[in-house]
């Protein structure tokens, strides 16, 4: 019973946080336990124009339905290695990608140097770079976020 109370309490806390920050979806994983909470989507009814002043040919225009509020879901390009992150092929060249660059899965986005080997890292996602998270010349660990990408 105590376990259920715990879970209910956690759930209430999560809902409060979602309301406060206007989040649509939250997923929390701890070991084997997982909680997933999704806010029900609010359907804005399509505005119907029933009467309209006749202008010109008098063709009634129907306004497009308002878009449902969506949180932007960004993809992350994570490091598959431990090593040093380099944003550009050599110190005085241009970075492979930057904020605003479009990438597709085969695009080379950075180099991670591990044990003197320069490993070329591919985007593995199609989209636009929104944020370069890793800092060129600094160490990165396995799983560390390198870039955030808005998927196509």
């Amino acid at each position: 019973m105590a376990q259920w109370d715990d879970q209910l309490g956690k759930l209430k806390q999560i809902i409060e946080i979602m309301k406060e920050h206007n989040l649509v979806e939250v997923q929390i994983k701890q070991g084997e336990d997982e909680i997933s909470v999704k806010k029900g989507q609010v359907q804005t009814p399509q505005p119907q124009i029933t009467a309209m002043p006749v202008i010109g040919a008098g063709i009634p225009a129907v306004l497009p339905g308002a878009a449902t509020p969506q949180q932007e879901k960004l993809a992350e390009i994570k490091s598959p290695l431990v090593g040093t992150f380099y944003a550009q092929p050599s110190p005085d060249s241009e970075p492979y990608v930057e904020s605003g660059s479009h990438v597709d899965p085969q695009t080379l986005v950075c180099i991670i140097e591990a044990m003197k080997v320069m490993n070329e890292i591919k985007a593995e996602v199609a989209g636009t770079i929104v944020e370069v998270v890793a800092v060129s010349g600094e160490a990165v660990e396995y799983g560390q976020v390198l870039f955030r990408v808005k998927p196509d």
Binding site: G31, D33, G83, T84, A114, A139, Y142, G143
Partner: protein
Amino acid sequence: MFSRVLIANRGEIALRIIRACHELGVGAVAVYSEADRGAAYLDMADEAICIGPPSPAESYLDIPRIISAAEVADVDAIHPGYGFLAENENFAQICRECGITFIGPPPEAMRLLGDKVEAKKLAKKAGVDLVPGSNGVVGDEAQGLKIAGEIGYPVMIKAVAGGGGRGMRVAHNDMSFRSGFAAAQAEAEAAFGDGSVYLEKLIAEPRHVEVQVMADAAGNVLHFFERDCSIQRRHQKMIEESPCPVLNEKTRQELCNAAIRIIKRANYVNAGTVEFLLDKDKHYYFIEVNTRIQVEHPVSEMVTGCDLIKMQLKIAAGEKLELTQKDIKHRGVAIECRINAEDPANGFSPSPGTITRYIPPGGPGVRVDTHVYQGWTVAPNYDSMLCKLIVHQPTRTEAIATMRRALSEFVIEPIKTTIPACLSILSHNLFVKSKVDTEFVERNF
């Protein structure tokens, strides 16, 4: 002394090494896989680097990832702990080539002693008795039958590259020899990629007795007395103690000196353990050398008052052993119980899950070496050992009483653990009288 050391391991031994590093003023860099993310012991390191996904092959066993982490963290040395890469001579070699000190023996000594056949030849030259056997690889069945006849049945057919009890068969006569020989070869080939086998006389009621040794780079070798590890289940040690309850002082000295001779001859450096079998007549036979620090090292630490991990760090950093053999005295009795996340009532099947209630024992003479705490989740990816419970008292009777008390106090819920099994063994009449051998557990439980 090193400035920073990377610990290429996880769990309780990683924490053990972090502690030794901190006492010596050395920075400790931990590595972890995604399965160990969030482990509290990682916060005790000065830096923690995620090196890979949960699978050991892509994390703790992955040499490039470990070396890469060592380079980005700019460490002077790597401590491999036990298991994983601790006895991987290739890893030791790569560390050397990358200018990183490997805290353990040089690759040459590791290679020599890691080869069971070569190690036996060396032991023989050092004047140590071996278990009567083929003294080398057995080429074919015919040769095997001849040797078995000379040694006398029963014999054990063992894989040269083997370990963990695999690639082994027992033969009681020519007929079972023929079937066992082929089977052992096939199993060895499949498990280790090397089908070579050798023969050994099967010793009746053997006790597993091992000697802790430590050698510095100047060739000084010390022993820290013996440990009796006869309480095993499927060749996995469950309970270890020091001293060996059935050895007299003369045999103890001979055993320990034999271990030193073997280690010296191999030009070994750093910590190691020399394993013997003791038969019911107290004859000891060399089995093998473990070229690493072992799980049960705390037993020897308690009876000698020495910190073996700190000693490993000092030796690797080039310091000479400041102790002499005379300085190392054996005091009292120490017993260690390994506590695993396994269900003894269910064939010791693994019992993973989250530990919601954890209350360790305490009081005089009790030491707990563990990475586990309330809230810890036991993942299925690695071995099931949760902690080592060690007790130290002036006599064996008191040590057993303290261990029973400590085991009874220990709360680990709701997962199943081997605590009840340890309690049963400690209450068993034969254990109390120490009339045990390596088959004791399987015979009685």
